[in-house]
Amino acid sequence: MIAPTHVSFGVLFAEFVFTCLDVSPSGPALLAAGVGALLPDADTPKSAIGRVFKPSTAIERRFGHRQITHSALFLGLCALVCLPLIFLKWWLVYLGLLLGIASHLMIDMANLSGVPLLYPYPGRFVFPEPKDARIEVGSKREWILLSILLVLVLGFTPISVIGYKSLFYRLSQNPYWAVEEVNEKIAEILAEGFCSYLLRKGLLKHQDTEGVLAHIEELRRSRPNYDAL
């Protein structure tokens, strides 16, 4: 697949997972998903990332294209190498990056050659099984797929930003859910305001803010009437 297909599918996949987790994706997280979607192609100097990443020639020489970097092993290695991102509390970026890599492996399964998901086991995972139904790199089919993906990304980005719950409130035009959403927003604003008040009075340390916010959120969820604040 060409780089734009990988990036668009990577972003779409990340947005989809974030939406399912009811998390609003940040810009850096989506950017990480886009970069992650290109990473497995670092094994060939012909790819977009391979042109920048100099060791790609050596990797291609040693392992070949679509070998080790297109496997679960590579995904696991990246998950390990990028662990410091979690300690920096950039877990959305971390998740985005891994989702991007996973999306690359998934979409390359539809390629003619498939991916050796269980490398070094030589079996190559393909989808769909009939070869003539798969997509050749740079073919007309790939351009059609890319256009569909771009339309989906354009349509899905606002949904993932507002969250699927909010989408349902809007679609169903249900006042009860709208009230619930407003309540949630008010509760959020109040909690943040409360924390900033405590900070100003010197009653709360900056590093404890997140803990207090999480505690308020927990309280709010455990007692629904608390929304009536």
């Binding site: 399912c20 020489r61 070949g64 498939g114 079996g123 190559r124 995972f125 099984e129």
Partner: protein, 295 residues
């Protein structure tokens, strides 16, 4: 003419020769491209050096021409056109009877060695003939798989099975190197070519040979050519990823019920929608499979 390249089959060849000496019929089993025919050819060449001239049949289907070929090979003497015509006019049971009686006569002098290739093509009607053949001659055969029908099982029961495995990485590298040298290819980056060929061939000698044969011999092979090399597919083992995709959609359906259990109606609706998308994709997948079956 150059000596054909054989790598990593010394053990198998030794076993075959030892079995020939001890009179043990042997069946070589292995997937397509692993070099069963090549091994049999090498085996025949070694037998010829020892003064044994085996009869080689490259397939048993269609059965009548195969029988005719066996008859002519056992007969030794060149038949006249008239004799040939009369043989061709015989029905399969008649020809089977003739061949078996000729085999009996030959076996009285010396038990002949018969080599049968591509035995997976053997028709069920040949079962009785094969059973009789195995008692009158020393049979060596090769097949990708064996049809375990009741009658054929009795035939295969007497065989020692020799499973042909793919070459190890080192053996595959040696084979590729020898083939490159044999073709006098001028390669700009030999390690890259070797890796590219070997990693895609997965130890299948035919895949290595065919891929190298596709390289141009009269000009230097560049890195771009190596990268764009059309790799022979016989070494590729494909695993259908469709069950994984179906599993994801099953997960959506499961999550839908979990969401219902938690009274999260938004999640319930969302996973329901995703399940519907899954059903549509499933329809497309199945349509492809049915089309393929219809072809």
């Amino acid at each position: 003419m150059m000596e054909p390249v054989t790598v990593g089959r010394d053990e198998e060849l030794k076993t075959l020769l030892a079995n020939a000496k001890r009179g043990i019929p042997t069946l070589i089993l292995g997937k397509s491209g692993l070099g069963k025919t090549h091994l049999l050819e090498q085996f025949m060449a070694r037998l010829a050096k020892r003064g044994v001239k085996p009869v080689y049949l490259d397939r048993l289907w269609p059965f009548k021409p195969a029988l005719l070929e066996l008859y002519l090979a056992l007969h030794g003497r060149k038949l006249s056109e008239k004799e040939r015509k009369s043989l061709k006019r015989l029905t399969v049971p008649e020809l089977t009877k003739e061949t078996l009686s000729l085999l009996e006569q030959t076996a009285k002098r010396r038990k002949p060695v018969i080599i049968l290739d591509r035995l997976e093509d053997a028709p069920a009607t040949a079962a009785d003939f094969l059973l009789r053949l195995s008692s009158l001659a020393l049979v060596f055969c090769a097949a990708q798989y064996v049809k375990r029908t009741r009658v054929l099982r009795r035939f295969f029961w007497q065989f020692e099975t020799l499973d042909l495995e793919p070459l190890s990485r080192q053996e595959a590298l040696t084979l590729a190197e020898r083939l490159i040298n044999e073709r006098n290819l001028r390669v700009t980056d030999t390690p890259f070519l070797l890796n590219q060929v070997v990693s895609h061939a997965n130890g299948v000698p035919l895949a290595i040979q065919e891929t190298i044969n596709r390289l141009p011999a009269n000009q230097p092979v560049s890195r771009t050519q190596i990268r764009e090399l059309f790799l022979h597919g016989s070494g590729v083992r494909e695993i259908d990823g469709t069950p994984l995709i179906i599993l994801v959609f099953c997960l959506f359906i499961a999550l839908r019920f979990i969401a219902r259990g938690f009274s999260d109606y938004q999640a319930y609706a969302m996973f329901g929608a995703l399940g519907a998308v899954g059903l549509f994709i499933r329809y497309l997948i199945f349509r492809q499979y049915f089309r393929r079956q219809a072809r």
